[in-house]
Symmetry: C2
Subunit: 198 residues, 2 copies
């Protein structure tokens, strides 16, 4: 496709075509009752839908629209860096600088005002301090736990994850969804008894 008249629109179209690559980034979670690994684009949709659906449980002061925007954007850096398992702490630390560079490259494809909005939203999500970022992050942690509980602990079994790892790495879910997290903790103990978790 030849360049468009109007540089800003051309940049935006190029960014959208670059986004297609997120559909090729594989996670460790498989679709329910289906062997295929989930990819980061469809996960981002699922996360955004979870945020939208869980809006009635958002703490006071949370702007659910910004949470949805964070969900849509949060994994775009994986186009350059790939997905690293949430339980691989060393791996995640190692790629933090690469992710920051990927955010600048990818959001920098957009015209300046919109690209800057996206970059700041992504940085706010990564920092994990604001009320919106904390609600978003809790949902991003909750979703694969629920998927695993509905799928015989598939990604836990395949990656030798322990009960303690799941409880520790996802403790922030309990701050946002205390009753749900209490229930999930009980299910996690049952999951270990079944051998789904170490």
């Amino acid at each position: 496709m030849s360049p468009l008249p109007g540089e800003a629109l051309q940049q935006t179209i190029s960014f959208l075509m670059e986004l297609d690559k997120l559909k090729r980034v594989e996670r460790r979670t498989r679709l329910l009752n289906h062997g295929r690994l989930e990819n980061s684009a469809e996960h981002s949709w699922h996360f955004a839908m979870a945020a939208f659906s869980l809006a009635p449980w958002a703490p006071a002061g949370v702007d659910i629209q910004r949470v949805i925007q964070m969900a849509l954007l949060h994994d775009i850096v994986e186009i350059d860096v790939g997905d690293v398992l949430v339980y691989d702490l060393a791996g995640r630390e190692a790629i933090a600088l690469q992710e920051a560079a990927a955010a600048r490259r990818l959001f920098g494809l957009l015209p300046a005002p919109q690209g800057e909005v996206f970059l700041q939203l992504w940085q706010e999500y990564e920092a994990g301090i604001s009320a919106d970022a904390r609600f978003a992050s809790a949902i991003d942690r909750l979703l694969p736990v629920i998927q695993n509980l509905h799928n015989q602990g598939q990604s836990w079994q395949e990656n030798q994850i322990s009960l303690e790892q799941v409880l520790t790495r996802n403790a922030s879910v309990g701050e946002v969804f205390p009753a749900l997290w209490q229930h999930v903790q009980q299910q996690l103990h049952v999951a270990r008894e079944k051998g789904w978790l170490r």
Copy 2:
């Protein structure tokens, strides 16, 4: 996973697990430079990101947050009904009632207030009359055209689509993005010369 305490939260978790099935619904478009067919979940993410990225071109009065919400929801009925090609007018007419029933079943899994919000947003999108729905629909039409122009007309070639079909079925894009559509029309004529379109 055993039922949660709190029926509304349990209903919401069940809805989110049902949504996983949209990742299995295949469209006719393939990933760029990659053989796999796109699925409706990752397409919905791409569409939501396109709406967010194209926000600066939204006509006055368009609420981009509602457009993003429509993008996230618009294909969920395909969990029950499947995807029908945009150029298959008879096929799309035939499934309209099934889609309406699917929307009631799927959004009906949610607690009443949230499910009603989702159903009304989906119905507004389908009706295609409001400014938000028209902007959303134009982006949903634009995106696969741009994907095809970047992918040697893959889904047009595989489904024997003609230039006239593309121009007619996507004319609404020109109402929202006149300069872009004028440029795309030129590219579509080039695409026919290359044999990508009948």
